[in-house]
Amino acid sequence: MPRLVSHPDEVKIVTSRFGKGAAKIDTYLELGGYASARKALSEGADWIINEMKASGLRGRGGAGFPTGMKWSFVPKQSAKPKYVLVNGDESEPGTCKDHLIFLHDPHAVIEGTIIAGMAIGAKTGFIYLRGEYRYLIQIVERAVAEAYERGFLGKNIFGSETEFQVIVQTGAGAYEVGEESALMESLEGKRGVPRIKPPFPAVVGLYGGPTVINNAETIATVPHVLAMGGAAYAAVGSERNGGTRLFGLSGHIERPGVYELPMGYSLRRMIYEVGGGVRGGRKLKAVVPGGSSTPVLLPEEIDIGMDFDQVGKAGSMLGSGGVVVIDDQTCMVEFALRTIQFYQHESCGWCIPCREGTDWLKKSLTRFHAGFGTEKDIDNIQYLAENMMGRTFCPLGDAAAMPTLGFVKKFRREFEEHLHGKPCPFAHHPEVELV
C-alpha cells in the first residue's frame, strides 16, 4: 500500500478524503460526496461551466488547458452521441498522483465524470486506467457498481430524467495512450497511434462524437470546485492558476510522497520544507519539475512558484506535477540516457522525427555514457533534439526532445567529462549494452 504523507503547508481539497475509507460509498456520502452532482443536476449545464471557468482549474495532465473552456467547446447540438473520457493512463515518469486518487477516492472520479457529462450533455463516460493499475481498476469498478446500486448512475440518475452510464476500461501498457487522441484510438480497440488534429476531440472524438477528455485529477477536482464555488477555489491558487495541485516528490528527497499544495507554491520550499531536503543532507544538483518530459532546472532556478505560467517562464513546464529531485552524486548523462530510453521505448513509431530521433538519441547517449563519445556527438545530440521539436503529430517527440536539450545545455561540462575514453565519473551503472 503506497504510503500517505502529510505536511502543515498542504491545503487538502482533492486529498481531503484520502485515508478515510471513502472508496466505500457510505463513507463517501458521509463526507459530503455526490452533493455536487445533485446540485449540478438542479442548476444545469451553463451554471456548471461558469463555475468551472471561474475556478481557473487547468488540466492536470500536463497541458494546463482551462477545463471550463474545454467543456464550453463541445457543441450543444450533435447528431452523434457525446462522451466524457477520463484519462487515468498515468504513465509520465515521476507521476503517481492518480494512483492515490483511484485508491482513496474513486467516487470523486465518478462524481466528476457525471458532472462533466451534465455539462456537455453526454450520456456515457469512460474511465480509462493503465493496465498495470489492475488493483485500482477493481476498486473503481466496485465504486461504479455501488453508484449504480444507489441510482447515481443509470437511466435516471438521482431520480431525474437524466441518463448517465460509466464504463471502466483497462489499458495494456502504453505511455503514448496518455495522449488524448491515442487514448481514443486505444478505447476503440486499436493501436495507440495519435490522430491528426483538427478536428479536435470536442468536435469529433470517440466513435466520431464530440468528446471531452480530462485527466483523472482534473475530474476528481470538479466536485470540490462546485462544492466550494469556482471563485473560492480559484482564490486558493495563484493568478490564472486556480486551486491546488497534487505534487509528487520523488528521487533524492528525504520525504518522498504526494503532497497537495496551492498552485504557485515555492519550488524551493517544496523541496526543502515539505520534502525535508535532499536525501542524506547531500547537495541539490537538479530538479525535473513536472515529469520526465519537462526540462531540468538548476539549483539556482528553484526560486519560482509552481504554476503553469511561472514554471513556463523559467524555461520548463509544470507538466504532470511530478517533481524529481536529483543530488550531486548523480551522473546527468546517465539520467539523460535513462530518460531517452523511455521515450524511445514508448514512441509509437508513426512520425519519423520521433521514431528515428529517439532511437538515435538513445544510441548516441548510450555510446557517450560508455565513454566512446566524441566532441561532435554533443552538438549532434542537441541538433537531433532540436529537429524533433514541433515536427510530430503528438507531443511525444517534444517530450523526448525538450528534456534532452535541457540536459545538454545545462550540463554540457558533464558531457565533456565523459569524452576521450573517460569512464563515467560517477560509475553508477557502467555495464551498458553498446548498440
Binding site: 501498457g173 502504453a174 535513462r338
Partner: protein
C-alpha cells in the same frame, strides 16, 4: 458444437467476454481488455487465443495481432507463474532500481525477459509503473511492492516460493 463449447476460456471468462463485446458503442472496444484478461487466464496470447478473440469481435486474427503487438503488457509466449517487473525509470533509478533489478537477476539466475527453468518466475525490466513516490518499486504480476531494499528482494521471492509450496502440498 455450440459456440460456448468451442471456447478456450473458462465458463466465467467466456461469459464475461459475451457481455464485454455488447458493452460499448462498437464491439472492438472490447479488444484490449479481452486480450489482457485472456492472457491472465491462459498465460499468454497463443494463436488459438488470438483466433478466438478475433472471432468474438468479428475482425481478422491479423488485425488482432496488429493491435496486440503495440501494448507492452501483452506477450506471445509464456512468462513465469510470477512475473517480476522491476521499474528502473528515473525515480526508481535514483533510489536503487538497477540494484534491485541486478539482485533479482542474481537470485533467479535469469535476465530481462528470462523465465526460470521451473517456470515459477520470470523477470522483466519495465518502464514507469506509477509508484515513483514509493521507489524503488516492482510489480509481481499485478501486485505492487514499494520502497524495496535488497533484503526485501529475497523475502519477496521466498514468500512466493512458500506460497507455491503450500499450494502444492494441498
Amino acid at each position: 458444437m455450440s459456440a460456448e463449447a468451442m471456447t478456450l476460456f473458462s465458463p466465467e471468462l467466456a461469459a464475461r467476454f459475451d457481455a464485454l463485446v455488447e458493452r460499448y458503442p462498437a464491439r472492438r472496444s472490447a479488444l484490449i481488455p479481452m486480450l489482457l484478461y485472456a492472457q491472465d487466464e491462459v498465460g499468454y496470447l497463443s494463436d488459438a487465443v488470438i483466433d478466438e478473440i478475433a472471432r468474438r469481435i468479428g475482425i481478422t486474427p491479423l488485425d488482432v495481432r496488429n493491435v496486440a503487438t503495440y501494448y507492452s503488457m501483452l506477450r506471445f509466449k509464456p512468462a513465469g507463474k510470477y512475473n517480476v517487473q522491476v521499474c528502473t525509470n528515473i525515480s526508481c533509478m535514483l533510489r536503487g532500481g538497477y540494484k534491485i533489478f541486478e539482485r533479482f537477476q542474481e537470485r533467479l539466475g535469469i535476465g530481462h525477459k528470462g523465465v526460470t527453468a521451473d517456470g515459477l518466475f520470470s523477470l522483466e525490466e519495465v518502464e514507469c509503473i506509477g509508484a515513483c513516490c514509493w521507489a524503488p518499486a516492482i510489480q509481481v504480476n499485478y501486485d505492487f511492492h514499494d520502497e524495496l531494499t535488497d533484503e526485501q528482494v529475497d523475502a519477496i521471492l521466498a514468500d512466493y516460493r512458500s506460497h507455491e509450496q503450500k499450494a502444492g502440498s494441498r
